[in-house]
């Protein structure tokens, strides 16, 4: 589930509030959004793509809390990693044409 909205990185654009498919965030006047309905989070990682500031972190654990430390995530290269791996920049897909999925399908008839 979503674990972090980094207040130092967030530029308060509220894109995550709009684009989360499960309406997990609430906008806050002149501040970073808050995680208001964490139990509704479907652990899809997609808010990370839409965040232009790499300010969000989603733990892969869907059914339990997983407290995180921002400095540790940065040190491990995880903050913003989903967007980087997908080629998204500034809330836009830039990696569609670089997808190598076809290599799986060459291997055998699946």
């Amino acid at each position: 589930m979503i674990e972090l909205v980094s207040e130092s990185r967030c530029i308060q654009c509220n894109i995550c509030v709009k684009a989360c498919p499960d309406n997990v965030f609430d906008a806050v006047e002149a501040a970073a959004p808050v995680i208001a309905r964490k139990a509704d989070c479907q652990t899809c990682f997609l808010c990370e793509l839409y965040c232009p500031a790499d300010a969000l972190f989603v733990s892969p654990l869907r059914d339990r809390d997983d407290p995180v430390d921002e400095a540790d995530l940065v040190a491990r290269g995880l903050l913003g990693s989903f967007a980087r791996n997908m080629g998204w920049k500034n809330a836009k897909p830039r990696g569609t044409d670089k997808d190598l999925t076809y290599r799986m399908f060459e291997d055998r008839d699946i």
Binding site: K18, A19, C20, P21, D22, N23, D26, A36, R37, A39, D40, C41, Q42, T43, C44, F45, L46, C47, L49, Y50, V58, S59, P60, L61, R62, D63, R64, L78, S81, F82, N85, M86, P93, G95, T96, D97, K98, D99, L100, T101, Y102, R103, M104, F105, E106, D107, R108, D109, I110
Partner: protein, 524 residues
């Protein structure tokens, strides 16, 4: 937890030729083709068009083959073989034709399909979130009115004809109304809040609303569908396990008849199960890595899945990668005039037969039936004429106000899940287990109806799950054999005397009954 945080102001009150409910691939293609046919279109989505639904979070392979080619023949033959007697080859061919045509158009519009090393444009796999964002932009440019975060909750019906829908804005609680001449249900499948990837919103309201208007279902028996995920994660991406070995806790290799889901299910019957992707060549590994959602759990948990064993579980996927849904005819019309259905919301035995349509068939079906439903809805709207907004329309089943609160909602949901999610209920079915589930679900259905209106969305989601669970169990009880993803412990063999589809429906009284496999054409 999905309740409004602000007092409800009135939301939009709109009139449109076509209303599309649900904005995954089926809904986006429906809106696009209705728009291209000249209709005014509103697209209402529970979440956000672009990130909501199973495709957005999951990505999907899709079947792209040249019409009348050897590749096409092979793809059809594979479908027919895997469908175990229930696939209609001509329907599959028609679906693949539409996919071929539309993906070519997508390329013409500038969608960035990747190229293989030899320079061929590869169109057999879609990055869900990129694909849907692209479609969203196309819709916005074409003038489709998109209502995000706006679940539809009730259909409007005028003189037996569907005339739009009402819903609620989940951010504000504001009610909205769209009066339309034709309506497309593209709200996806129902996965009962199991936690499978991208399925939080897939709770079956489209089914429930359609049933209240009188629509029937098919294929609810073929719903014993689970996805493999690294334990405690959401990522039910089954494809990688083609290259996996499975182990028990002591490290002994697990083998069993059937596919990889069967190996895991049988292993889980005896204890914990672990996997390692030890059969993937470096080239296949690079292909897997390219689907970042597959690797988010591994990278974030510090696991190297190619050399380390990781624990796995099975998560229920219901009609998302199972096959049940609204019964539709050739042009996607349901039983009810003015109401069409597409994608996972529609029954798809003709495409997927008795096995899961994941791995290409379902994405293909969503694109094709989406396209057809938008076209058919636009034509229906032209027939109704511009004055449709003046019809007197009402919701077909004004539900009595109950008194249950959020705690009751959670309890009813848990009661429904107990009868559907466990492997012992839906993977390994038995006559006795289905009978027990049937009784418990009658209670759950009544309890769901008695929930209070403080959170109308949660109430409708819960009712829809209860209704869908009852159609599933009633249909499964009518299939006295094992076939594909309906596995009946006390009738483990296939019986080709039962090569029929099972139709179901009903609200306070549920029914399920077999019909001929080619019922839909016979009915036309």
């Amino acid at each position: 937890m999905s309740g409004p945080t602000h007092p409800a102001a009135a939301g939009p009150d709109l009139v449109a030729d076509v209303l599309v409910i649900g904005g995954g691939p089926a809904g986006c293609w429906a809106a696009l083709s209705a728009m291209e046919a000249g209709a005014s279109v509103v697209l209402a989505e529970k979440g956000y068009v672009g990130t909501a639904g199973a495709t957005a979070a999951g990505n999907s392979s899709i079947v792209y083959t040249l019409p009348a080619s050897a590749g096409r023949e092979k793809a059809i033959a594979q479908r027919v073989a895997r469908g175990l007697g229930l696939v209609a080859a001509d329907t599959v061919d028609r679906v693949f034709d539409e996919v071929y045509r539309q993906l070519n158009r997508l390329a013409d519009w500038g969608y960035g399909f990747p190229k293989t090393e030899d320079g061929t444009s590869y169109r057999g796999s879609m990055r869900g979130v990129d694909y849907l964002r692209f479609l969203r932009q196309r819709l916005v440019k074409g003038g489709v009115r998109i209502l995000d975060q706006s679940p539809a909750l009730d259909l409007l019906v005028a003189d037996g004809v569907v005339a739009g829908a009402r819903g609620s804005d989940r951010r504000t609680g504001a009610p909205w109304t769209v009066r339309s001449a034709a309506t497309v249900i593209a709200s996806g499948g129902c996965a009962f809040l199991s936690g499978a990837l991208g399925t939080r919103n897939l709770t079956g309201e489209g089914y429930l609303m359609a049933a209240e208007a009188g629509a029937r279902f098919s294929g609810m028996d073929f719903t014993g569908q689970y996805g493999i995920a690294p334990r405690h994660t959401s990522v039910t991406k089954g494809i990688i396990y083609f290259w996996a070995s499975f182990f028990d806790e002591a490290g002994a290799r697990l083998e069993s008849k059937g596919d990889r889901q069967d190996i895991v299910a049988n292993g889980l019957g005896r204890g914990r199960v672990f996997a390692m992707l030890d059969k993937a060549s470096p080239r296949v590994q690079s292909g897997m890595r390219s689907q970042a959602n597959i690797f988010a759990p591994f990278d974030r948990l510090g696991i190297d899945p190619f050399t380390q064993r990781f624990e796995v579980e099975l998560i229920y996927e219901g009609t998302v990668r199972g096959n049940g849904g609204l019964l539709i005819g050739r042009d996607t019309a349901t039983d009810v005039p003015g109401l069409f259905a597409a994608g996972d919301a529609a029954a798809r035995e003709e495409m997927a037969g008795a096995t899961s349509g994941g791995g290409g068939p379902n994405a293909s079906w969503a694109l094709a039936t989406g396209t057809w439903s938008g076209r058919a809805a636009a034509a229906f709207a032209r027939g109704i004429g511009a004055a449709h907004g003046d019809r007197r329309a009402a919701t077909p089943a004004p539900a009595a106000e109950g008194r249950g609160d959020a705690a009751d909602t959670a309890a009813v949901r848990a009661a429904i899940q107990r009868e559907i999610l466990p492997l012992g209920r839906s993977f390994f079915r038995s006559t006795a287990g289905l009978e027990a589930a049937s009784g418990a679900l009658e209670t759950a259905w009544r309890d769901a109806g008695a929930l209070g209106r403080t959170d109308a969305i949660a109430r409708r989601e819960t009712q829809a799950m209860a209704a869908t669970a009852r159609w599933i169990v009633a249909s499964a009880r009518r299939r006295g054999e094992s076939r594909g993803i309906h596995r009946l412990a006390d009738r483990p063999a296939r019986d080709d005397g039962q090569l029929h589809r099972i139709l179901s429906g009903g609200l306070d009284r549920v029914f399920a009954a077999p019909v001929g496999a080619r019922h839909m054409e016979a009915a036309e």
